[in-house]
Amino acid sequence: MARTPTDLVGAQPDPPFEITFDGRSVTALPGQSVAAALWGAGILAWRTTRDGGRPRGAFCGIGQCYDCLATVNGEPNRRACLVPAHPGDAITTQEGHGHDRLGV
């Protein structure tokens, strides 16, 4: 039995790189989405809800539920399950609707 998903498909990825999540360093594999990189580091939540301030992360995995919204390099409301991770990306927890500075 394969111990990891990468073993299962015999993955030989290009060299891994670093992104940050709320300032902490996270290792991503080339070709992974931001959500996949975060799951790979054991991080399941990167957003808090507007009303309850409850933690959320990826749910549907295919761009339908919008639960995985994150702030990517300062831009809020990016669907982390669709956005590919790039070296040096700064992912930050998105609070509420992500437009706090606009006061809307």
Partner: protein
């Protein structure tokens, strides 16, 4: 900021929306029979959800380890590569419009998540809609906790990103997909203590004809069953996860026995430790691009809606064909069968000749046989009327707008709401980012007076979020060309 709209080269004979099994089969055959074809897809890779696979940079030597029937896909992908099809990746279609001269305009926003600045419009003489499905969810206390993920979602993240949401993952919900999900999670190294299926499998036995006519489906179930045995995964039938425990993430779930109507049997709850829960209750056809145009639908046996299609896969709107899960959820083989059928029908319409009557009749027989089985499957796994019993008043129904069961019940009991649309107007359930995709089934069930829910049939003007600058730019003259370099690529074989 204004966004100018660009148009990839002129008027195509056929534009196919969706590059999964159905879309690929339709695009490839139409191109091989002489049509000019554009294949438009949100993803950067072909394959759709079923044949979702890791990006090339992940260097997967054996991507087929996560799939059945990989050879069908490799064949379609090879033919795509050898064709002259314009494969427009990273294009999220938000609207289809029929013009006065009977041609079509397909409107898309570009980029991995549709936020690139340049919108695109693609012009077509005919359309094939192959947009697939998304997962149906029923809420339960704790289902918004991090670590609770869609069953299909967990599989999608595994197939494309090679990651798991936890080490010990309970798989729950209803439908044959759960067996496939559990088998692939276990093969990828997760411990799957149990698969929890709300239906009983006895229902299938009531329609032996559909079963006998589809032996490959039974064989598929056996393959998954054997894999689960090998990984010592226990399958519990007539049971559901009725509560998730944990404060900031999943720590355990309660699994409860259900009666025939999906009512929890009191006193049967068992707590099972886990760090993730993958849950889903089947799939919902993704048809909003068609319903926005007024295409006729048909109710499916599991209270969802599929497109009503004629013998050659055409919708009730002339010039718009559909294939695969858009006509009702039936799996990859049915999808490519319908895709090819639709592709041939478009060729016959545009070129005025039937390409191969024998082949078309064969495809139709295969389609009818598999459609019959799909309907049996849908009715076997339709949510029982008793499932709302497992909800508490403070359970969130609408994840986006954080609308609780209590609010929805108040709208129904005190304010007289009788359908999902009225509940939406009174509570905001379904008004958030996902536009009711996650809560639509639950709200419709809770609003139904006698427990029999009407499928939510609301029309959405936009299938994906679109910025105001994009809408404003639609009136400007289009910029021809240039889009290929910026926002799309032709995928190689």
């Amino acid at each position: 900021m204004t966004a100018s709209v660009s148009e990839p080269s002129g008027l195509y004979d056929l534009v196919v929306v969706g590059a999964g099994s159905a879309g690929l089969a339709g695009a490839v055959i139409a191109s091989e029979l002489g049509l000019s074809v554009a294949l438009v897809d949100a993803s950067t890779q072909s394959g759709g959800q079923f044949y979702r696979h890791p990006a090339p940079a992940l260097g997967a030597v054996r991507p087929e380890a996560l799939h059945h029937d990989w050879s069908t896909f490799s064949n379609l992908r090879r033919r795509l590569g050898a064709s002259g099809i314009a494969h427009l990746t990273g294009h999220h279609v938000w609207s289809l419009a029929k013009e006065a001269d009977e041609t079509w305009t397909v409107h898309a926003v570009t980029g991995a998540d549709g936020t690139a600045k340049r919108p695109v419009r693609i012009r077509a003489r005919t359309l094939l809609l192959a947009t697939g499905a998304y997962e149906r969810q029923l809420p339960f206390p704790g289902w918004t906790l991090p670590g609770v993920v869609g069953a299909a979602g967990a599989q999608a993240m595994l197939k494309s990103g090679l990651v798991l949401p936890g080490r010990r993952i309970v798989v729950a919900g209803s439908g044959p997909l759960l067996l496939a999900v559990a088998a692939s999670l276990a093969a990828a190294g997760a411990r799957v203590p149990t698969v929890v299926e709300a239906a009983g499998y006895l229902r299938y036995a009531r329609t032996p004809r559909a079963l006998v006519a589809n032996p490959q489906k039974a064989a598929e179930a056996l393959v998954h069953g054997a894999a689960l045995l090998r990984h010592r995964v226990r399958v519990r039938l007539r049971s559901a996860v009725t509560e998730v425990h944990g404060t900031d993430r999943v720590e355990a779930v309660t699994v409860t026995r259900l009666d025939r109507d999906w009512r929890p049997v009191p006193g049967t709850g068992r707590r099972i430790a886990c760090d993730a829960l993958a849950v889903g209750h089947g799939l919902v056809p993704q048809i909003e691009l068609a319903t926005a145009l007024g295409c006729a639908t048909r109710p499916l046996p599991d209270c969802t809606l599929g497109l009503a299609l004629d013998g050659l896969q055409e919708t009730s709107v002339r010039g718009l064909w559909a294939a695969g899960e858009t006509g009702g959820v039936g799996g990859a083989e049915l999808a490519w069968t319908e895709g090819e059928l639709a592709g041939r029908a478009v060729v016959a319409r545009l070129l005025g000749r039937r390409s191969d009557a024998g082949r078309i009749a064969g495809l139709q027989r295969r389609r009818d046989r598999m459609r019959a089985f799909a309907d049996v499957m849908a009715s076997a796994h339709a949510p029982g009327p008793g499932w709302p019993v497992w909800l508490t008043d403070d359970t969130d129904v609408c994840r986006c707008e954080e609308v609780t069961v209590g609010c929805v019940r108040e709208a129904v009991a005190d304010l007289g709401a009788r359908d999902a649309r009225t509940v939406k107007l009174l509570t905001r359930a379904g008004m958030g980012w996902c536009q009711g995709r996650m809560c639509g089934t639950a709200v419709a069930c809770l609003a139904a007076r006698d427990g029999v829910a009407e499928p939510p049939s609301e029309r959405r003007p936009f299938a994906v979020p679109v910025s105001l600058s994009t809408l404003a730019a639609l009136d400007e003259p289009a910029e021809p060309g240039g889009v290929e370099a910026e926002a799309s690529s032709i995928e190689g074989p």
